[in-house]
């Protein structure tokens, strides 16, 4: 039904365009010489179409967003008081889902009278709401069409009106970026607050034991789960450190060679190849870690006589390092290229070799830019998800041994939220608390890095 409604709306909007167009043309025909009317006929059409289409479309969207919750509230209010007075929020939710499932026709067992009656009400209310939506949307469209059309006149400034509407639409689009951030921050904060109402923030930030799985029975040892996230943070930092130890030297030395030594032809070949490394999806790196790197490391370890876990921090961090090579290399490249030629000339003029110029002059001069790049890469490393989900561990072990499995913030977020999720237990909400920590950490790193890079650029501009 919704698609038919949208189709009807589209047809009416097009009709509105032609209605406006036809009326504008009739002015032109009546008054004869051009320039007696203000705007082109097309703008008159667009004006009517915009007024016919846009408010109605917004009404549809709002209606869809609020129909569900409103009907739910009506449903709960209509249930007999004696039936719901003793239920807590969870049980009430369960009852509502049961009613909805019965309403859809999935009847399991013997639902009682109240549920059957409520399901019937639910269906009929939804039907009424849907028809009400169709009726109100279509009538709004038609009324808007005629009102807008009646406003047209030879000197009516249709173009200015249409342009104002377009400007408002563009501003709305620009606000989506802000709304996204607001959405991220509020949803993370809200769920985190709920989490902290169940688990003490002290435990979350300073606890050493992370066992978020909820026990089946109350008398089990980890009845509520343990939410000390220190091992998770340590694991994240360990893997990020390993990744940076792989990526920084390779990326930095590649950048040095490519900017200072390499021939144009070599650069033309190597740079796109490095870009390929940057374009490979992280799920592919994750599989590469599992398929090739981890077994190779294991065998290498066996050869040397010590055991490396198949999901060791080394394998996950190492592969993440490969992913970050192009990142470091291109940012270092930019930083080195931004060093003015005059500094190079000055150094060569003193008789310094190329190597001395690079290590004594270029690198110190480019250091802030390179540091900024490294910080951005660290932020990438701690936010990277798929490689660690596939190649790192799930158990939060408090260790710095790179041959042992460790877990990371992102791994925990994904493991806690995969599968069925109910938003009423600390296990699910813990993922949002971790998400908030991750969001803030990456944000801070980025702001610092971008500030450093910007200051550095300004220095040489």
């Amino acid at each position: 039904m919704l698609s038919y409604l949208l189709l009807a709306l589209l047809v009416l909007t097009i009709a509105a365009y032609y209605a406006g167009l036809a009326k504008a043309r009739s002015f032109a025909a009546a008054t004869g010489p051009h320039k007696s009317h203000h705007s082109l006929a097309g703008y008159h059409g667009a004006f009517v179409a915009a007024w016919a289409g846009i408010p109605s479309f917004l009404l549809v969207v709002l209606w869809l967003l609020f129909q569900g919750p409103v009907v739910d509230q009506l449903l709960i209010a209509s249930l007999p008081v004696e039936r719901i007075q003793n239920l807590d929020a969870g049980q009430l939710n369960l009852l509502v889902s049961e009613i909805k499932s019965v309403a859809k026709g999935n009847i399991f067992g013997e639902p009682d009278e109240v549920v059957l009656a409520a399901a019937e009400r639910y269906n009929s209310w939804n039907a009424i709401a849907s028809w009400a939506m169709v009726a109100s949307v279509l009538s709004l469209t038609v009324v808007a069409l005629f009102v807008a059309r009646s406003m047209l006149a030879p000197r009516f400034r249709a173009r200015n009106h249409v342009e104002s509407i377009t400007t408002i639409l563009m501003i709305t689009c620009s606000l989506i970026a802000i709304l996204t951030t607001v959405g991220i921050v509020t949803s993370l904060l809200y769920e985190t607050m709920r989490f902290f109402s169940m688990v003490s923030p002290l435990e979350f930030f300073f606890g050493l034991n992370w066992e978020p799985q909820i026990a089946m029975r109350d008398d089990q040892v980890t009845a509520g789960g343990a939410f000390g996230a220190i091992p998770v943070y340590i694991g994240t930092l360990l893997i990020a450190l390993i990744a940076m130890m792989v990526a920084t030297p390779i990326g930095l030395y590649s950048a040095i060679y490519l900017t200072e030594y390499a021939s144009d032809r070599l650069r033309a070949v190597v740079k796109p190849l490095l870009e390929i490394l940057a374009g490979i999806p992280t799920v592919v790196y994750g599989f590469f870690a599992v398929l090739t790197v981890a077994p190779a490391m294991r065998e290498f370890g066996e050869l040397l006589g010590f055991s490396i876990a198949p999901n060791s921090a080394l394998a996950a961090g190492g592969v993440m390092g490969i992913m970050l090579i192009p990142f470091i290399s291109s940012l270092s490249d930019d930083a080195l290229n931004a060093v003015p030629q005059s500094l190079r000339d000055g150094s060569y003029g003193l008789g310094a070799t190329k190597g001395e110029t690079i290590t004594r002059v270029l690198l110190p001069a480019a250091l802030p830019g390179i540091m900024g790049g490294i910080l951005l890469a660290v932020s990438r490393a701690i936010g990277e998800t798929m490689i660690v989900v596939m190649a790192a561990g799930i158990i939060a072990a408090l260790t710095l041994n790179p041959f042992e499995p460790v877990t990371t913030v992102t791994v925990q977020i994904v493991t806690l939220l995969i599968g069925d999720t109910e938003f009423d237990n600390p296990k699910t909400l813990a993922a949002f608390a971790l998400g908030l920590v991750l969001f803030i950490a990456t944000l801070v790193l980025n702001v610092i890095a971008l500030t450093i890079v910007r200051r550095y650029r300004e220095q040489y501009d």
Partner: protein, 275 residues
């Protein structure tokens, strides 16, 4: 409101008087024009009257404000966010800053030709047809064809391009491109054309061709030309205004300016002491 609107339209579509009458008639009146770019003042209190169906040249050293003033006349300064214009300019007695006057309509009636030829990267035909099309000046394809042909003919370009109307305008030579831009400007049938150093990017032969064209267009249009070449000003204009350091120093008949300037600064400039 309604009254004013009609007034505005009437102003812009007044029938042009004959050439004889027009000599003394004033087309554009500027009073107390000052322009600020942010904190910096670029133009100081300029008053000038520009007669109808003639060519007026603005001369002066670079940065003297002559282009700034030119851009006030079709409100191109509106596009620079930090620019602020004070004073009034009226065309045919009508204030161009009147909020009731649509800047788009103003610019259709006050065409502009820029320093560097800037044809749209479209076909020659589309370049000229664009203005008439957005202003709805043609009711049919054949009417539009007529406007395009007529404009190209008046710009003296028709013979050179009639076989390649659908080729890109950017493929023409520099001089042809500039004449295409003039054709584009006259296609919206303006009363006034502003030219901002239109020949500075052209070779002498192309320059001569454009100057001839200016002289021909003068019969029906008011032309204001900014130029750094005094010879050009002397060749094409009837009146000349000399700007210096953001001020209008002197304005009179071109002959007078070049033979007997009133102000010593003008004297210094035209004799080549500075600039």
């Amino acid at each position: 409101m309604q009254q004013l609107r009609i007034g505005a339209s009437e102003m812009l579509s007044t029938v042009k008087p004959s050439l004889a009458e027009s000599v003394a008639e004033t087309k554009i009146t500027a009073r107390g024009i000052s322009v600020f770019y942010g904190e910096k003042q670029a133009l100081f209190d300029v008053d000038v009257d520009i007669p109808k169906n003639s060519v007026m040249a603005f001369i002066g050293p670079s940065g003297c404000g002559k282009s700034t003033f030119l851009r006030c006349i079709n409100r191109m300064n509106d596009t620079i966010p930090i620019a602020r214009v004070e004073g009034t300019i009226s065309i045919d007695g009508r204030d161009i800053n009147d909020p009731e006057l649509d800047v788009v309509e103003l610019r259709a009636r006050v065409g502009m030709v820029f320093q560097k030829p800037n044809p749209f990267p479209k076909s020659i035909y589309e370049n000229v047809a664009y203005g008439p099309r957005i202003h709805g000046l043609a009711n049919s394809k054949s009417e539009l064809d007529g406007i395009v042909e007529n404009s190209l003919r008046r710009a003296g370009l028709m013979k050179e391009v009639q076989d390649r109307m659908n080729e890109p305008g950017t493929g023409l030579s520099g001089g042809q491109q500039q004449r295409l831009c003039i054709a584009r400007a006259i296609a919206t049938s303006p009363d006034v054309i502003l030219m901002d150093e239109p020949c500075s990017a052209l070779d002498p032969i192309a320059t001569a061709r454009v100057e001839e064209l200016i002289d021909e267009l003068r019969e029906t249009l008011t032309i204001i030309i900014v130029t750094h070449s005094m010879q050009q000003a002397a060749r094409v204009s009837q009146r000349t205004a000399f700007f210096h350091l953001g001020k209008l120093v002197e304005e009179s008949e071109t002959n007078t300016i070049f033979t007997n300037p009133a102000d010593p600064r003008t004297q210094d400039y035209i004799t080549g002491r500075f600039g």
